[in-house]
C-alpha cells in the first residue's frame, strides 16, 4: 500500500510522526483538513495504538471516541468531497459492506470500517483513517440517522429491519420512523422492496433503487409500520389498506442468477446461502449506482470468501469446521437454511451476554425440526435453553459440551457446521483459531 501513496504524502505522514499504524499502514493526514481535525485524528490514533499495545479495549473505537471528543464537528469535514455509501439493516450489513467495498475498489481505493465497528466512534475512525475518495461505512441501525445527517452520504443501502435483541424489540418501529425522518430528501437509497419497514423509511428519498432481497423473518412484517393495520400478501407482493405496498423491484435473484436493468448474470459467489445472494444483489445495485458495471462488481465480489470470520472454515487435526454467525431470529433462519442444505453434524453455541440479548424466547419461532436425524451438540452459557428448545422440536439425542472444542471432540472426524450467536461466535473463532495455529 505504501508505494501507492504519493511521495509528498509519505513525507507529510513521516513528518507528523505517525508514519504507520501497527499493521504498517500509512496514515497520512488528509490534505485540506482543518488543524483541529488533523490534531484530533492524530491523538485519536495515538490513543488507539496505546490501547492496543496495552491489550485493553478495542483500539479503533477508542481512537474514534478521542477524535470526537476533541473535534465534535469533525464528521462533516471528514466526509466532505468524498463519495460515501452507508450500509445498514439488522442482518447482512457486515457482509454487504465488504461486498460493496470490493466492487468499488475496482474503480479506486476505498476506506471502510471492515472491523465491524459500526457505531459513531467506529465510523468516525474509518473516515479519519484515510482519505480515499470513496468510503463505505457499515452503520448500526440506531446510528443511521446520525450518519445520514452528518456525512450527507450520496448512497444509503438499507437491507432489512427486524428484531435483534428481543428484550428491546419494541424499538423496531421507533427505528423505522427515525430512518424515515433522516432519509427525507436523501439523494439515493438502494433498498429492499420486500421489507415494509425499509420501504416506509425510503419514501422521502429523492432516488430509490428497489431490490427484491427477501425477508425470511416475517414476524416483524405482519403489521403495517405506517398505520398499524394488517399487511396482506398477494402473489409475491404485499400491501396495506393505507396504500403502502411493495414497490416493483429493479433487481432480483432467480436461483443463482442476478437480474437487473438489461442485465442477467450468474452470481457464483464465494459466500454460501440465499441471504448472501440477496446481500450481493444489494451491493451490485449500489455499485451500479456509483458507476461500476455489474459484471465488474460481481467479478470482485466473487473473490470475497469470508467476512470477519463468518463462513470461515477452520481445519483442526480431526475436523473441518465451518463457522456461521446467527445473531438474531432472522439470521438463525438464514443459518439453518444454509446448514440445512448440507447434512453435516452440527454444533450450536448459544450465549446471552451483552449484544446477544437476554431473552431467547424467540428460539421458539425458529423451526429447528429440520435438524432431526443429524448429530447435534450444544454449548455456550445458554446451552440448556437451546437443548430444551431442540427437545421441544423433537430432537431427543442432543448432547452438551463445555465449549466448541469439546463439542467437536464428541463428533465424528470430518466436516462440521458450527452455528453461534454473537459472543459465542467470537469465542468459537478464537478457540478454533487457536487450535488450528497450535498444531
Amino acid at each position: 500500500m505504501t508505494s501507492l501513496l504519493p511521495q509528498h504524502r509519505r513525507d507529510a505522514a513521516a513528518a507528523d510522526g505517525v508514519a504507520a499504524d501497527l499493521a504498517g499502514r500509512p496514515r497520512p493526514p488528509a490534505v485540506g483538513r482543518s488543524r483541529r481535525v488533523a490534531t484530533a485524528t492524530r491523538l485519536g490514533h495515538l490513543a488507539e495504538v496505546s490501547s492496543r499495545l496495552s491489550g485493553l479495549g478495542a483500539g479503533g473505537v477508542i481512537g474514534g471516541r478521542v477524535l470526537l471528543a476533541l473535534a465534535p464537528g469533525a464528521v462533516p469535514e471528514l466526509a466532505r468531497g468524498r463519495s460515501l455509501a452507508l450500509v445498514s439493516g439488522t442482518n447482512g450489513k457486515t457482509t454487504t459492506t465488504a461486498l460493496l467495498a470490493a466492487a468499488l475498489r475496482t474503480q479506486a481505493p476505498v476506506d471502510t470500517n471492515a472491523d465491524g465497528a459500526n457505531t459513531q466512534a467506529g465510523m468516525v475512525r474509518a473516515l479519519a483513517a484515510g482519505d480515499a475518495a470513496t468510503v463505505v461505512l457499515e452503520t448500526d441501525e440506531g446510528w443511521l440517522p446520525w450518519a445520514v445527517r452528518q456525512t450527507r452520504a450520496s448512497t444509503t443501502v438499507l437491507l432489512n429491519l427486524s428484531r435483534d435483541q428481543l428484550h428491546r424489540h419494541h424499538e423496531v418501529a421507533h427505528v423505522a420512523r427515525a430512518w424515515r425522518d433522516a432519509l427525507d430528501g436523501a439523494e439515493h437509497v438502494v433498498a429492499n422492496a420486500d421489507d415494509p419497514a425499509v420501504v416506509l423509511a425510503c419514501l422521502g428519498a429523492r432516488n430509490r433503487t428497489w431490490v427484491a432481497a427477501g425477508t425470511r423473518w416475517r414476524e416483524d412484517a405482519r403489521v403495517c409500520p405506517r398505520c398499524g393495520h394488517e399487511i396482506v400478501s398477494d402473489d409475491g407482493g404485499w400491501r396495506c389498506r393505507c396504500g403502502l405496498c411493495r414497490p416493483r423491484p429493479q433487481w432480483w435473484t432467480e436461483g443463482d442468477d442476478l437480474v437487473g436493468p438489461a442485465t442477467r448474470l450468474t452470481l457464483g459467489l464465494g459466500l454460501p446461502g440465499a441471504a448472501n445472494r440477496a446481500n450481493a444483489a444489494m451491493a451490485v445495485a449500489a455499485a451500479a449506482g456509483l458507476g461500476v458495471s455489474p459484471e465488474g462488481a460481481l467479478g470482485a465480489m466473487r473473490t470475497v470468501r469470508g467476512v470477519a470470520g463468518r463462513y470461515e472454515v477452520f481445519a483442526t487435526r480431526t475436523h473441518s469446521a465451518r463457522l456461521t454467525l446467527a445473531k438474531n431470529p432472522a439470521s438463525w433462519l438464514e443459518a439453518l437454511d444454509m446448514v440445512g442444505a448440507r447434512s453435516r453434524p452440527l454444533v450450536l453455541a448459544f450465549n446471552s451476554d451483552g449484544v446477544d440479548g437476554r431473552d431467547p424466547s424467540w428460539l421458539y419461532d425458529v423451526p429447528f425440526d429440520g435438524l432431526a436425524g443429524r448429530p447435534v451438540v450444544v454449548t455456550g452459557r445458554r446451552a440448556t435453553d437451546m437443548l430444551v428448545r431442540l427437545e421441544m422440536a423433537g430432537l431427543h439425542d442432543v448432547r452438551r459440551a463445555g465449549d466448541v472444542a469439546a463439542a467437536l471432540s464428541l463428533l465424528p472426524a470430518g466436516e462440521v457446521d458450527v452455528v453461534a450467536n454473537y459472543t459465542a461466535f467470537q469465542e468459537a473463532r478464537r478457540a478454533l483459531g487457536h487450535r488450528c495455529h497450535g498444531r
Partner: protein
C-alpha cells in the same frame, strides 16, 4: 373437527400475538400431553378467520402495540373466546394476552380499552421504566421462572387471585404479585416461553381440562429451571426501583 378423545390447543392469532415465542407454550403443552399418552392437536387461529369454539386450551400471547390492537378488534367481535371458556375450555394469556383477557386495559395508545372481561383485572401502565428482566415467583405449581418485558401493571379485583408471589422482578407492579387466576383462566407477564420453563404450570393448565395427570419429569427442563432461578436470584434488587414511589400513589 377433532375426535373427542383428543385435546385441542388453540394458538390465538399467532401472526399478531407471537412476539415472545408464544408458539413455544403450545409446543410445551403438546409435549407434556404426549408424554401422558394424550393425543394433542395444535390449531393456529388466524385473525381473519372465526376463532374455533371447540378448543380445550386457548393461548393468547404477547404482541407489539399495533398488533395488540388488531388482535383486540378480532377477539371482541363474536364473543367466541368467552363462549369457549363458558363451555369448559381453559385459557392462558401472556403479556398483551394478559391485558386482553382483563376487564379493562390501557392500550398502547394510552387510552383505556374494554377487555374481554375473563379476568377481574384492570391493567394500567407502570409509571416507571419498562420492566425488563428475569422474574422469579413462588406458586402452588412450583416456583415460576420467566423473562418479563412490559410497561403494563395489573390491579387484581376481588374475583381474581395472583398466579404467583413475587420473589424477583416486577410482575403485576405491586411488588408482591405476578399474574392472575380466575377459574379456568390464567395469565402472566412472563415469557420464556413460560409453559416451557414451568412444567407445573403447564400441567395445571392441562389438568383443568383433562383432570389429574401422572407425574412427568423432564430432566432438561428441570435443569433449565434451576439455571434460570439462579439467574433471577442474582438480580441486584428484588423489586422495581420505582416501587416505593408507586406504593404511595396506589389508587
Amino acid at each position: 373437527m377433532v375426535a373427542d378423545s383428543a385435546l385441542t390447543v388453540v394458538l390465538v392469532y399467532p401472526e399478531l400475538l407471537g412476539t415472545y415465542g408464544d408458539r413455544g407454550n403450545a409446543v410445551a403443552l403438546r409435549r407434556r400431553a404426549d408424554a401422558r399418552g394424550l393425543d394433542c392437536h395444535l390449531v393456529e387461529a388466524a385473525v381473519r378467520d372465526p376463532l374455533p369454539r371447540t378448543g380445550d386450551v386457548y393461548l393468547v400471547g404477547g404482541g407489539e402495540d399495533a398488533a395488540m390492537l388488531l388482535a383486540w378488534e378480532g377477539l371482541r367481535s363474536g364473543h367466541r373466546l368467552q363462549d369457549a371458556v363458558d363451555a369448559g375450555a381453559a385459557c392462558f394469556g401472556v403479556c398483551a394476552g394478559f391485558q386482553l383477557l382483563s376487564r379493562e386495559f390501557t392500550g398502547p395508545d394510552g387510552e383505556p380499552h374494554e377487555g374481554l372481561g375473563l379476568l377481574d383485572v384492570r391493567c394500567g401502565r407502570l409509571d416507571g421504566p419498562r420492566a425488563v428482566g428475569e422474574v422469579l415467583a413462588d406458586s402452588d405449581h412450583g416456583f415460576l421462572t420467566g423473562f418479563e418485558n412490559h410497561q403494563g401493571d395489573a390491579h387484581l379485583g376481588a374475583g381474581t387471585a395472583p398466579l404467583g408471589r413475587l420473589v424477583r422482578g416486577v410482575g403485576n407492579g405491586d411488588g408482591r404479585t405476578e399474574g392472575a387466576v380466575q377459574g379456568r383462566v390464567l395469565a402472566s407477564y412472563l415469557h420464556g416461553p413460560v409453559l416451557v420453563r414451568n412444567d407445573g404450570l403447564a400441567d395445571r393448565l392441562l389438568e383443568l381440562v383433562t383432570g389429574p395427570l401422572a407425574p412427568f419429569r423432564d430432566p432438561a427442563v428441570l435443569r433449565l429451571r434451576q439455571e434460570r432461578r439462579a439467574a433471577a436470584l442474582s438480580r441486584p434488587g428484588a423489586r422495581h426501583p420505582h416501587l416505593r414511589r408507586r406504593s404511595s400513589h396506589r389508587p
